[in-house]
């Protein structure tokens, strides 16, 4: 709780002073420091300010100021004393323990440029498993985790990456608001050591914001490997910020970093001090004039939120958000002053007017807009600081990166390289995956046979062998393929290749009315469409967001891979990788065509300008790749034991009942079961596509999750003669139906499953993110219609040939 919440007459012990700069200094000089007791004496007639007694003298604080002091009441301490297991503790000892519990909580915010390794750091420090990748915009909202280090509890918040704290993009506003509204005790400014100059631009703004910062020099090993030298101790002294080298993916330097955070938190860091960046005589004079106006409206509410210097600078940079903030708050001040019968001579908007005048003056002096001038000064400051502390070793990894990029992002070679990588990925997925797949398949067959021998004939035996082993076993064999696919996705993401893919797609994306930034959510969709849809949050423009969301389900997620493996193994044995690549390519083309259609009809607005960042190539660590593979394998197995198992049981039951009165063959029995009747009911709709009722039911159940398409087929394609055949073989040798699959209708089936209804999880995510059900329903209706049309056309072509 904070001091403003303590009742009159109450006594409390101070646990923490929130806030920054002058206010913090002043309040601490008044004696409001950790561990001191405060007595709430009385309130002024209008409830504000409140009189407190501390260290034997009386002082009055406004409620807004008292809110910045965290306390624990004596009442709470007395209650806690009774609950301690050791009754012999003295009151001082109890207070000491309570202070440790309440005062040793450090709220830390993690800020930095996109793709500088914030989430890797966050995951390592907190043991979380948030998504990371060597490209920008992976983190889309704030994530908080709690952990303890030494005697302190850290609440660490990972924020989206941002280059600056100017109100240009949604992320920048979000991060700035988080810092001003949540008052983190310490901000970790994560810096990419190999790109200090640009990364430190954000640091200069944090200095102006007067927050307590510690800079983490991430990927410091890369800087050293290049032979560069950085005197980070001197740099820290110059900027008044401790600079700590860390290697996030290996956990190096974390101990020193968190020790430094504790020192800053406890106000005993020898390095930390607030400095003023010198913006030059004219700008400094203008800042001073605007600050004077802000002080005239001396309202602590504003100044507790943002320092006057930061506000003045941002007003000179024409920051619309700050203008709004200042004008809204100054109106409130005048109102308040009038209530107290104090005559206020200034116009409420005088601060903004003063800033506008100063902007005019500065622009006439510099013959350039103030925003550029201030940006130049910031870079000048960084350049000066680095000139004294940084020595280049001459090895330029960027040059190496540029050499690789010459081919990989080449305007002609870029696409064949991309297609070759995708082809190689599937080739490896199938060839390498075949061995463990055969082992699992042999195990599943053995298990079925073993249970068959051991159990007496009956309903439960049928459920276990045909339902559970047939359904779950049919899908679990694809575990190696999924894991290998994720190994490649992880390699592509961590190495920086995914960012290149986004870059080479940028031109195409522009042609279809989107930009490369939209491609990142689409790439994520290859793993799972749900995080892909959530990643559209990085897009500023709502129409871009909705459009990306609408085309995202056409990116073939990993849940669809088992079906492609079954079908290609049955009908395209020699060209498995090529056919699978073509299905993925079909999805991308479908997404592009849909985007063009929607851009010309529903979403006519223009796209926002965006600079695509190309991070340097990095060699992915074995640990990170293995972690990705393990997580995916665990997820897949969990799904097998959950939704796939449940679906297999229900589908088996629907296919098992009602029991026939007389002996019939297996296919006829299934045809007359509940599921068979349902299948027959929908068969006329799917017959033109070359699919029989069993495929119809598989499509239907796949709505819950796309893996269920294969598990359903596993249950429905049971034959009396051969229970040892794999699903692919059963599909190939299926003689029961009047409508057997041909290579064309099988390809059409893959395309149908690729395009039609995204799974329930994706549809729900779409409704949530779009904020309207309408778009999800339009997407579903459109995709089902398109799936039908394409499968029909493919089947027709097959018939004609």
């Amino acid at each position: 709780m904070n001091l403003s919440e303590v009742e009159i007459g109450g006594v409390a012990i101070i646990t923490k002073i929130i806030g920054r700069g002058t206010f913090r200094k002043r309040i601490m000089e008044m004696g409001f420091i950790k561990g001191k007791s405060v007595h709430v004496v009385k309130q002024a007639p209008l409830n504000d300010p409140v009189e407190y007694e501390i260290m034997g003298y009386h002082v009055s604080l406004r409620k807004s100021e008292a809110k910045m002091i965290e306390v624990v009441t004596m009442e709470h301490i007395s209650k806690a004393a009774l609950e301690y297991p050791n009754p012999n503790l003295t009151l001082d000892e109890v207070i000491g323990r309570e202070l440790k519990d309440h005062g040793n909580i450090i709220n830390v915010a993690l800020v930095g440029n996109p793709n500088c390794g914030k989430t890797t750091f966050y995951n390592y420090a907190s043991g979380s498993k948030e998504r990371v990748g060597n490209y920008s915009g992976v983190t889309v909202d704030a994530k908080t985790a709690k952990f303890t280090f030494k005697d302190y509890t850290f609440n660490i918040t990972d924020l989206p990456g941002t280059y600056s704290l100017t109100a240009y993009s949604a992320e920048e506003i979000y991060v700035r608001r988080f810092i001003t509204e949540n008052h983190p005790d310490v901000v970790i400014n994560m810096l990419d050591s190999s790109n200090l100059e640009r990364n430190m631009f954000l640091t200069t703004q944090l200095i102006d914001m007067d927050v307590r910062v510690v800079a983490a020099l991430n990927m410091y090993d890369e800087l050293e490997a290049k032979g560069d030298k950085l005197d980070y101790i001197s740099l820290g002294k110059m900027l008044g910020i401790p600079f700590i080298p860390v290697v996030s993916n290996k956990g190096k330097g974390f101990g020193v970093l968190f020790d430094t955070i504790i020192k800053i938190f406890e106000d005993n860091s020898p390095t930390y001090r607030h400095i003023h960046i010198n913006y030059g005589e004219e700008i400094e004079a203008s800042v001073k004039k605007i600050q004077d106006k802000i002080y005239l409206h001396n309202d602590n509410e504003i100044l507790n939120t943002l320092p006057s210097r930061f506000m003045a600078l941002k007003l000179l940079e024409k920051d619309a958000e700050i203008e709004k903030f200042v004008s809204q708050n100054t109106v409130d001040i005048q109102h308040e002053h009038q209530k107290q019968n104090v005559t206020h001579v200034d116009n409420p908007s005088c601060i903004i007017e003063e800033a506008k005048e100063e902007i005019k003056k500065l622009e006439s002096i510099y013959n350039a807009d103030t925003e550029s001038v201030i940006t130049d000064r910031r870079y000048g400051f960084i350049g000066g600081a680095l000139k004294e502390t940084f020595k280049s070793g001459g090895v330029n990894t960027r040059k190496r990166t540029d050499k690789v990029d010459y081919i990989i992002t080449h305007r002609i070679w870029g696409f064949p390289v991309f297609l070759a990588v995708i082809f190689l990925m599937f080739e490896a997925t199938f060839i390498l995956g075949q061995y463990p797949m055969d082992w699992i398949e042999a195990f599943v067959e053995w298990l079925g046979g073993f249970i068959g021998e051991q159990m007496p004939e009956g309903m439960l035996k049928d459920l276990i062998i045909d339902g559970i082993i047939g359904g779950v076993g049919g899908v679990i064999v694809f575990l190696p393929n999924i894991v290998i696919l994720f190994m490649f996705i992880s390699l592509m993401e961590d190495s920086g290749y995914m960012a290149r893919v986004a870059f080479i797609m940028d031109k195409i994306m522009h042609k279809i009315g989107l930009h490369g930034k939209s491609f990142i959510p689409l790439i994520m969709g290859f793993g799972c469409n749900v995080p892909g849809i959530m990643a559209t949050r990085t897009l500023e423009n709502r129409s871009d967001r909705l459009l990306t969301m609408m085309i995202s389900p056409y990116m073939s997620c990993s849940a669809r891979l088992p079906l492609y493996t079954v079908i290609t193994a049955a009908f395209f044995t020699t060209h498995q990788a090529l056919i699978t690549t073509s299905v993925y390519a079909f999805g991308i083309i479908m997404a592009a065509l849909t985007a063009i259609l929607l851009r010309k009809t529903a979403f006519k607005s223009q796209d926002a300008p965006f600079v695509m960042e190309l991070p340097p190539y990095r060699i992915p660590t074995v640990k990170s790749v293995l972690k990705h593979m393990w997580e995916k394998a665990a997820q897949y197995l969990k799904k097998m034991g959950g939704v796939i198992l449940i679906a297999s049981i229900i589908i088996w039951a629907l296919g098992y009942f009602p029991r026939p009165d007389k002996e019939v063959d297996e296919y006829t029995r299934q045809e007359n079961s509940y599921i068979g009747r349902m299948g027959k009911f929908i068969e006329p709709v799917i017959e033109p596509l070359g699919f029989d009722w069993r495929l119809g039911i598989s499509i239907f159940t796949g709505v819950a999750a796309k893996e269920i398409v294969v598990s359903t087929m596993g249950v429905l394609y049971q034959s009396e003669e051969s229970n040892t055949e794999s699903l692919s073989e059963k599909l190939k040798n299926d003689k029961n139906t009047s409508l057997p699959l041909t290579p064309f209708s099988a390809y059409g089936f893959m395309i149908f499953v690729l395009i039609y209804f995204p799974c329930i999880a994706t549809a729900t995510a779409m409704i949530k993110e779009a904020g309207q059900k309408r778009w999800a329903f339009i997407s579903i209706a459109y995709s089902v219609l398109m799936a039908w049309i394409f499968a029909f056309l493919i089947n027709m072509i097959g018939k004609m040939l």
Partner: protein
Amino acid sequence: MIQEIITYIIVALAVAFTVFRLIKTLKGNPPECECCKKKRKKSRL
């Protein structure tokens, strides 16, 4: 007979679970997307 009873119980549980997940989904919590489930572990510091 015992086999039948166990089978009916298993099927009934599967149906109940499906209904439960369906209600949860309709209320706005997407099911089984493991990618979004946050797993917290002890800090490695």
